[in-house]
Amino acid sequence: MNTRSHYDVAIIGAGMSGLAAGIRLAHFGRRVCVFERHNAPGGLNGFYSIAGRKFDVGLHAMTNFVRPGVKGTPLGKLLRQLRIDRDEFALCEQKQSRIAFGPRGETALCFTNDFAVLESEVAAKFPAQIDGFRRLVAAVKACDDVALDATPVSARSEVRRYVTDPLLEAMLFAPLMYYGSAQEHDMEFGQFAIMFKALFLEGFARPFDGVRVVLRVLLEKYRQAGGERRMKCGVRQIVAEQGRASRLVLDDGGEITTDHVISSIGSVETERLLGDGARLLPTAVTPGRLSYVETITILDRAPAALGWGDDTIVFFNDSERFAYERPAEQVDLRSGVICLPNNFAFDGGRQLPEGIFRCTCLANYDGWAHLPEETYRADKLRWYDAIQGSARRFMPPMAAPEELARATVATDMFTPRTITRFTGHLQGAIYGAPTKIRDGRTALSNLYLCGTDQGFLGIVGAMLSGISMANFHILQKSAGGPA
């Protein structure tokens, strides 16, 4: 039991970003404690067990994958900064993924971890656009997307300078938005560039055992470095005195004092801890509007055995226009993401013990949040079938359509309500608020944001966010370095 009453740094939330910040700080001798309300670490990238089966919460694939020897990319930076050997993650690459648009996915762009595949697909399917596409890629590569002080520019207007076919534009935006945009309809160009590199120029991979491998490594590094954590002990209040966060009141009623606070729980969520209508930032913060449902289907065989081929991830949309917005209904069935975790090239030909078929769609938080329990359950069942039906339009047809039901051994589904319940993110907003605070600064001089609302997204992004904020606000300052 940790009962110290003062820390150099208190971190709120034991997700990827909070743990990464904690590893940096503890490694360099800071007395640091992570406070986590839930009983398990991971936050938006955690896992849970039902009937002895482990389910990943957020992970479809780890983005930003590069092969050994490729340097200067986010994955390499985070491995170095956290002193992690890349073998510890044992990442296995995707086989192939697909962006499928049209009622049956008639227009498709395949991509793999070899960027040349996407480039040749664009050249084949959109021959008039390939020169513009190549210039867009050059602009993405030249974008200093991790600058903490970049001026926001609309990605739509920037991309349209190079790509003039609305269908290609929509097909490029769909995966990037689904995997990391907190903003409806558009993205900030720096965010677009981060995601474009993460998905297309770098790529997808996963550890055989999924997200818990990454968490295990982080927890072990943090422990070895001397970091403390208190689980099932969230922060109830941040007490501000003279422009500083001076004390934290914990869920168990205890209090601690601290020199610095790093909050990974989101900007609106952090502001609420200040109480009394206090402002976290000079401008009002609003929660994100985008949330998701996900169906998870466990199969008694690999998806390939159902005739579904080798696709790892399929981003689908049934029309030419792609609407990335909070749907009017509970779920938007027009678009979504299919993930078949069996279709990673696991080392030595290993196979996951069961087949997994996951499907994500945009959802409306209000449509789920306040339903009576009975209605909520009934709606889940109804939408489960509808989502699966929608997704199947984009997979090869089965000889006998009922084969999928016969192969199903278990199902689960999470909704915006589940997300808020287990991660504390208001409105079920997985990607947080639409406005990101890149430098992590708040109205309190020693309170900083990291994670989702700092704005580096994805698993690799989340860890880099924690690293950058720990470096920028705490380690560099005391090292006398540039601040």
């Binding site: 490694h27 360099f28 930076k77 170095r80 050997d85 690293i467 090292a479 006398g480």
Partner: protein, 85 residues
């Protein structure tokens, strides 16, 4: 501390920070940045590891003195001597 010992001490730090770099042929009189892929985050870590492991403080104004192995030795040996090493 000899120059060779100081080179080794710095290379030991770099090998922990950047285990994916090949350090077998680092030239002592060529800028580390020109032979290895080290960014500003990595240089900050060299400074912080010097403090953590050896109690040596390197103020920001002196970061340039860590440009190559020879300049590291020239700068660090007197600091170690001041510690009686």
């Amino acid at each position: 501390m000899t120059k060779a010992e100081c080179h080794k001490l710095v290379l030991d730090i770099i090998s922990d920070i950047a285990p994916d770099e090949d350090l077998s042929n680092v030239k002592p009189d060529v800028r580390l940045r020109d032979q290895l892929q080290l960014d500003s985050m990595d240089f900050l870590d060299i400074v912080m590891e010097l403090r953590k492991r050896h109690g040596i403080e390197v103020p920001e104004a002196d970061y340039m003195k860590l440009a190559n192995l020879d300049s590291c030795a020239e700068y660090l040996i007197p600091k170690f001597a001041a510690q009686g090493k």
